[in-house]
Amino acid sequence: MPLTFHRKPALVVYVTCGDPNLVTTREIILAAIEAGADVIELGVPFSDPVADGPVIQRASERALKHFTSLGQVLTLAAEVRQHAQSTGLIIFSYLNPILRMGMEKFCMVARAAGADGVLVTDLPVEESGEYLRAMKSNDLSPVFLAAPTSPDDRLQMIAEASRGFVYAVSRTGVTGARQKLTDDAQKLVRRLRKYTKLPIAVGFGISTAEQFAEVGKFADAGVVGSAIVETIERNPGREAVAVAEFVRKLTSVSHRPPVVS
């Protein structure tokens, strides 16, 4: 199950697992896949989500109220994999829950669950030696974040360590939808291109089809996180339906028709 982006721009959808509960998260994910999402980032809620804005912070707090754990997210990944063979699945977590489980054990379980890759929010590439070894021996793709403030030599380090795709953060800041994308995103992608042939996904702040189409002009994929999480927050009782509607709107701007699953 390699990470392939079938359309341009491909859509990467982030959800905080366990918000409002794991059963609903499963429904949401499957609905998003059916509506055209290419890759799902399964977010593991954390007590101290320092890289996240208020929307994902609230989602994490709700998910943690019933003790949603990394272990449960991995189980959920396995369930999703059973129903979706060609969707990319990324486990998205802060480092501490992974350390608590054990790096090697985590990678083994993630592989067994059918995950394609992992993104650890607060693990910089400089500190990733042990992680990269465990990921490689378990045939998982490590996804890293590149920032507009990353100097060229750092972008090169990030590009060389990455597998699957490179996540280009569109602006300095934390997660959260914005009215317009800054120029930072395009400049960053241009600089990254010098160092990698992997697909580049742009994330942080994308909340409309227009912004998603804009991203498609210079990157291979767009990541939509807070806007999805906020859609979930605003549609209690009909989360999966609402997310599917939103995803269809986004993918309507992509250059190829959605793959029928």
Binding site: D48, V50, L95, L99, R100, R154, T172, G173, V174
Partner: protein, 373 residues
């Protein structure tokens, strides 16, 4: 990462820059009030009947705690880097006040993040920060204490990193902060070592300091690290009990983990979620500990013991009535430990207690907890 690398580069250059060091020394001397005295606590010594107790008076520094040593150092770095906006986190408010103070001194915009629970229990400091011209932003998320303030400060920093310096207040966070903050506080131990040799003609048997993030303690420990016979004792917040969530004693059940850019001992649950902590003292109420302390403890060079809320409160009254010094609740934890330890030591031995701050900010809590008026 780029901002951290820039900071490290500037810091390394400043270390070798004589003009920078001279200016820092001058400000420490003429503005902050260094050197601080090392005071022989005669009545306390007599009362406890054991070792000779000396108090290192960081409470006498401008703003009332040791925090300003680091704020002056980083403030001069901000000037060097050409940034104009400074943000900080604060627990008890002393670091916030020291940051606001230095920003007023050097002319920077200042925003301090503080958990709303801490704002309630350290009102005096909130007012002082605002009077000094800083904006104090209350943090409502999580436990509404120090770690939540740090989260919010970090979010501000990554958003505004090009114009803003994050003036971290303790030996925590990503490199270079633990090293840099320790270096700025080393003056405490450097002075104390010279002072005790002058006063007693010998080195102390033990040094005791409270440990929240660990800045005052590593500051007084550092120059004694090479003196192997000097015992180094860090006192953590024993809070109100031993259950996770009732204290902030990282070495009582904490496990290696990563929080806010640092790998150290962290109080956490089995799933790797960071635990909430409790201490009567806001400045010790933090689930992780400076990584240098973790290394010292693992190497056996320093030992870490808890003092409970009740013991700290009792120690506050004791020091106030025996020596006329009202310590901060944080520092009272160190006093609580000397109360236990001094009687067991020989009368010829010397022990130094770091009084990291004064207790004016704690009047409200002291009033709530002690039966005085």
């Amino acid at each position: 990462m780029a901002a951290l690398e820039e900071l490290e580069r500037e810091y390394n250059k400043a270390k070798l820059d004589r003009k920078f060091q001279q200016r820092l020394q001058e400000l420490l001397r003429t503005y902050a009030g260094r050197p601080t005295p090392l005071f022989f606590a005669q009545r306390l010594t007599q009362k406890l009947g054991g070792a000779r107790i000396y108090l290192k008076r960081e409470d006498l520094l401008h703003t009332g705690a040791h925090k300003i040593n680091n704020c002056l150092g980083q403030g001069l770095l901000v000037e060097r880097m050409g940034k104009h906006r400074v943000i900080a986190e604060t627990g008890a408010g002393q670091h916030g006040v020291a940051t606001a103070t230095v920003c007023a001194l050097l002319g920077f915009e200042c925003v301090v993040y503080m958990g709303t629970e801490d704002m309630r229990r350290q009102e005096l400091n909130v007012f002082r920060m605002r009077l000094l011209g800083a904006e104090v932003r209350g943090v409502e998320s999580g436990s509404r204490t120090l770690k939540d303030a740090i989260n919010e400060a970090m979010r501000d920093w990554v958003t505004n990193v090009r114009t803003t310096h994050y003036l971290l207040g303790s030996v925590l966070g990503a490199h270079p902060y633990p090293t840099m903050v320790r270096d700025f506080h080393r003056v405490i131990g450097r002075e104390a070592r010279a002072q005790i040799l002058k006063a007693e003609g010998k080195l102390p048997a033990a040094i005791i300091a409270c440990v929240g993030g660990g800045s005052n303690s590593i500051g007084i420990f550092y120059d004694f690290l090479k003196d192997k016979k000097v015992q180094l004792i860090g006192v953590e917040a024993g809070g109100r009990g031993e259950k996770l969530g009732d204290h902030a004693a990282r070495f009582r059940g904490g496990l290696p983990g990563v929080l806010q850019g640092t790998y150290s001992y962290v109080l956490q649950d089995g799933a790797g979620q960071i635990a909430t902590t409790h201490s009567v003292s806001a400045g010790l109420d933090y689930p992780s500990i400076g990584p240098e302390h973790a290394a010292l403890r693992d190497a056996g060079r320093a030992e870490y013991v808890p003092a409970s809320d009740a013991e700290a409160l009792e120690a506050t009254t004791l020091l106030a009535r025996t020596e006329g010094i009202i310590p901060a609740l944080e520092s009272a934890h160190a006093v609580a430990e000397v109360v236990k330890r001094a009687p067991r030591m020989k009368k010829s031995e010397v022990v130094i207690v770091n009084v990291s701050g004064r207790g004016d900010k704690d009047v409200r809590i002291l009033r709530e907890n002690l039966k005085i008026d």
